[in-house]
């Protein structure tokens, strides 16, 4: 038997692929193999789709051959339903497979030619290359006993076996996190306490969709996590509907946060997000600057919310206590 075992093509989505684009068409140009790994041709494609088409052709059959088995193992346990394929018959066979997850895969293709062996008895069996050995046991073959002889029917024997192996490396295209805020470009408007809307809507996908966004608001408050499947569409999130075709996408959820003046001399904050992808947990982080934030000018003539009026004072031996009203709030001061 002579056979041909080769890859007709390896194709994948382009390196500029983004899940958001919704264009899952693979490049029609076959990816060439430019290197070898473990003595095998290595092909490199991109997740989430790297396709291969393998070819198995057989000619010049062995006259004694009873049947052929064409087998392929794509080495892809993420897609185990089509991972191993066995096909009988003499016609040319083409095997297709698509890899979704990043990783290094080994593809093994084989053509095996088998012949049926007539029924035989124990005493007919000799061990090849060592006739002194006696075959005393067998497994996996149904046998019958006739006239005191154990008869093993319909045994098949492998005549020839051609194999070929290739390597496929599937590479993930990483996401790119973007965070933006509603902060004013007018410096005079950036005043404590500052309420800003932070949105991750411009975060870009790579090979895989975004599953989770972890927020760090940068002012010491606890981390906030938004997962696609967490069912939380309420506080502290505001649904922006920015990705209207997929309202569960975590990039649809903004956060409105108020930055207050801390005790120390901090006037700027650096909120950040980390966007994680489905299945691989690959991530990207970005941060922005909120600030510098100014303080109000306290004056009786500024906005009514900051209007100050003295309520009461009391003098004691160590100083003076002053209570004043600022808008609907009360402040207490002391002098020493």
């Amino acid at each position: 038997m002579n056979s041909t075992l080769d890859l007709i093509y390896v194709r994948s989505v382009p390196s500029t692929f983004s899940w958001d684009d919704g264009n899952f068409a693979v490049d029609t140009t076959s990816i060439p193999s430019t290197q070898t790994l473990n003595g095998k041709q290595l092909y490199v494609g991109y997740a989430p789709i790297t396709q291969i088409l393998a070819n198995s052709d057989v000619y010049n059959y062995n006259p004694g051959a009873s049947y052929l088995v064409r087998a392929t193992d794509f080495g892809d346990y993420y897609n185990s339903s089509t991972n191993v394929l066995n096909v009988s018959g003499s016609a040319g066979v083409k095997f297709r497979h698509a890899y979704a997850m990043p990783g290094l895969y080994s593809i093994n293709i084989s053509n095996a030619e088998y012949a049926y062996v007539d029924s035989l008895t124990w005493n007919e069996v000799t061990i090849e290359n060592n006739p002194a050995l006696v075959w005393t046991a067998y497994t996996g073959i149904s046998a019958t006993t006739l006239n005191g002889q154990t008869i093993v029917p319909n045994v098949t024997a492998l005549i020839t076996n051609d194999t070929a192996s290739f390597m496929i490396s599937v590479v993930e295209i990483m996401p790119t996190a973007y965070l933006s805020s509603s902060i004013s470009f007018n410096f005079d408007d950036i005043i404590f306490p500052l309420t800003v809307t932070l949105t991750p809507r411009y975060t870009q996908t790579g090979s895989f969709p975004i599953e989770k966004i972890v927020w760090d608001l940068g002012d010491g408050s606890p981390l906030i996590t938004k997962t696609r499947w967490d069912g939380n569409t309420g506080s502290p999130f505001i649904s922006s509907g920015a990705l209207s075709a997929d309202l569960l996408d975590p990039r649809n959820f903004d956060i409105i946060h108020t930055y207050n003046k801390p005790n120390n001399s901090v006037f700027s904050f650096y909120p950040s997000i980390t966007a994680y992808t489905y299945s691989t947990g690959s991530s990207d982080t970005c941060s922005i600057t909120v600030g510098p934030i100014q303080s109000h000018l306290m004056s009786p003539t500024t906005t009514s919310a900051d209007e100050f009026s003295l309520l009461q004072t009391e003098l004691n031996e160590d100083g003076v206590v002053i209570v004043g009203q600022i808008g609907t709030d009360v402040g207490i001061w002391k002098t020493q």
Binding site: G75, T280, G281
Partner: protein, 296 residues
């Protein structure tokens, strides 16, 4: 008689800092407000929409509007869920199949008679180790397809990551992520139902699902800390049932906002860095006859 006159600028005014200490130093909610002309004060939530203030005979008295203590104090309680605390669970898939042991591997099967009991032992903030009924650790194979096995094998320090899982428990669903040679992967199962680190989900396209539903054998969470609130609590004090008469089960719990009378000594304000205050809730639960006043 002579006296000296001292004139202080606005910046000489110091904001008074209040504190409240009962069991520990319960933190009052406040925002430091600083104005650009350097005058500053502490804006306490308790004083928002205040009703009256009086400084009298070395005492300061503040009558607040109706408030719940939740708005006055910082909530410092934290709830640690499984993953931060130890626990034992059964795991099933979203389609109702149970995880069970199958030799040294695990697989998901319907109507499993013996569910796999898994014990979670936290070893870091969100990293856990998993153990079987018999205390045997679950370890992911170092090679593809990353089958999960129950084994007592001793791993070298550089292989310890194979028995460590990043656990996430959100909204009743649990995921287990492990590191492999090819990066992080989620524990899942394919057509052969064997548990492997081969999770593959892409939005609604679920090829190898990696979300599991835990059934807790032990408590799923533990809350520690200060959780301020103003609750009116009714206990079972009538003949609802004999069982409830013998227990302190709460019959009803309502948040009751009340006016607060906050008081402190003004001498403390000028003498001390922080001024201790007292808070009195201006509401009684009892009628003039001494019985409980129903809220409805």
């Amino acid at each position: 008689m002579s006296f000296s006159l001292s004139v202080n600028s606005l910046s000489a005014l110091q904001a008074v800092e209040l504190s409240y200490s009962y069991n520990s130093n319960e933190k009052l909610k406040f925002t430091p407000v600083v104005y650009s002309n350097r005058i500053a004060y502490n804006s306490y939530e308790a004083f928002h929409n205040i009703k009256d203030v009086a400084l009298s005979k070395k005492n300061a008295l503040f009558l607040t509007g109706t408030k719940c203590l939740t708005s006055v104090f910082e909530k410092t309680s934290t709830t640690s869920t499984i993953g931060k605390i130890s626990g034992t669970i059964f795991l099933s898939t979203l389609s109702g199949e149970d995880l069970q042991y199958n030799g040294d591997t695990l697989s998901v099967q319907l109507s499993s008679s013996i569910k796999a009991r898994i014990t979670i032992v936290p070893i870091d903030t969100d990293t856990v180790e998993l153990y079987t009924n018999n205390g045997i650790g679950l370890v992911v194979d170092s090679y593809y397809p990353y089958t999960v096995r129950a084994t007592n094998a001793v791993l070298s320090p550089d292989q310890q990551y194979r028995r460590q899982f990043k656990l996430e428990y959100i909204n009743g669903l649990m995921t287990f992520q492990t590191n492999t040679n090819e990066g992080p992967r989620y524990l899942s199962y394919g057509v052969d139902k064997v548990l492997r680190a081969v999770g593959l989900m892409l939005n609604e396209s679920i090829i190898n699902p990696y979300l599991f539903v835990p059934t807790f054998i032990t408590n799923s969470s533990l809350t520690i800390g200060f959780d301020p609130t103003s609750n009116e609590v009714k206990y079972y004090n009538d003949i609802e049932s004999f069982k409830n008469r013998m227990t302190l089960d709460i019959k009803e719990k309502n948040i009751a906002e009340t006016n607060l009378l906050i008081s402190c000594a003004t001498t403390d304000m000028t003498k001390k860095e922080k001024t201790n205050i007292n808070i009195a809730l201006l509401r009684t639960n009892y009628t003039s006859t001494g019985t409980y006043a129903p809220t409805h």
